[in-house]
Symmetry: C2
Subunit: 151 residues, 2 copies
C-alpha cells in the first residue's frame, strides 16, 4: 500500500487547517471579543453593523439594509425587532410605497456613534497585533479578492 505524503497545512481542507474552518473560527473569535466589548451597552455585534449603516444613511429601507449587509430578510426582521425593543431604532412606513419600511435612528441609537468605535478599534488592534502596515494592506486586499471570488 502506497502511503501518501502528508499535505501541507496551507493546502489542507481538514480540521483544524481547512480555510473554511479557520475562517469560521476567526469570525467566531471576533464575535466573542466584540460581544465582550459591547455587553456593557446591551448590544450585539450585529447591532453594531446595523448602526453603522444607519449612522451613514438614516431612514434606509429594510431591503436596502439587507443588500448593504448581504443578509436575508428573515434575519433582519428579528434583529430590527430587538433593536426596536431596545429603543435604538424605530420603523416607519415609506410615504410613497407602503411595502417599504424605513429604519430610523432614535436619539439613543445616534448617541452611540461616538462611544462604540473605540471598543471596535480595540478588537481590531488585537486581531492585527504584530502585523505591519504593509501586511495589513495586503491582507485587506486578499480579503476583498476572496469575497469577490465567492460573490
Amino acid at each position: 500500500m502506497t502511503l501518501s505524503a502528508p499535505i501541507p497545512t496551507w493546502q489542507s481542507i481538514r480540521v483544524p487547517h481547512g480555510m473554511g474552518y479557520r475562517l469560521k473560527l476567526l469570525s467566531q473569535l471576533m464575535t466573542r471579543h466584540l460581544q465582550e466589548e459591547l455587553d456593557p451597552y446591551g448590544l450585539t455585534p450585529f447591532h453594531w453593523l446595523v448602526l453603522n449603516c444607519l449612522w451613514e444613511q438614516d431612514g434606509i429601507a429594510t431591503s436596502a439594509l439587507g443588500e448593504r449587509l448581504r443578509q436575508v430578510g428573515g434575519t433582519l426582521t428579528g434583529v430590527l425587532d430587538r433593536m426596536e425593543e431596545r429603543g435604538l431604532v424605530r420603523r416607519e412606513r415609506d410615504t410613497h410605497d407602503r411595502r417599504i419600511w424605513r429604519i430610523w435612528l432614535t436619539d439613543a441609537g445616534r448617541a452611540l456613534e461616538d462611544c462604540l468605535p473605540p471598543h471596535v478599534h480595540q478588537v481590531r488592534e488585537k486581531l492585527l497585533q504584530g502585523f505591519s502596515e504593509a501586511e495589513q494592506k495586503q491582507l485587506s486586499d486578499w480579503m476583498d479578492r476572496m469575497l469577490a471570488n465567492l460573490s
Copy 2:
C-alpha cells in the same frame, strides 16, 4: 469645522470594510457555498467538521471534540443529536468514566470520508481562485497569526 481625511479601507472599522464584518461575511459565504455542496447528502458544514474529527479519532469524547473544534458543550449536544438522528454517529458511555460519552462513527458516517472531500476542495478552490501558491502560504500563515492573537 475641520474635515477629517477619509480613512483608507484597510484601516476602517466601518461596514463594509471593517475586518470584523469582512471575516463574518467571508465565513457566511463559505458556509452558503459549502451548504450547497453538502445538501445532496443531507449534511451541514458543521457535520463536515465533526466527521473530520471522527474520521481521525473514532470514539472521541464529547468534551475532547469540543476542545478540538473550540465550540461550547451546549452547541455540540444539539449537533450530535441531529447527527445521531441522521444515523451518522452513535453515542456510547465511556467504560471507565460514566460522565463521558464517546462518539462513534456508523458505517454511513465512515463511508462519507471518500465522497465529501471533492466537494470541499471545490469550495476551497473557488475561494482561492487566482491566488498563487506563495500567496496561499502567506495567507495561511496570517490566518494562524490572527487566530493566535485572539486565543
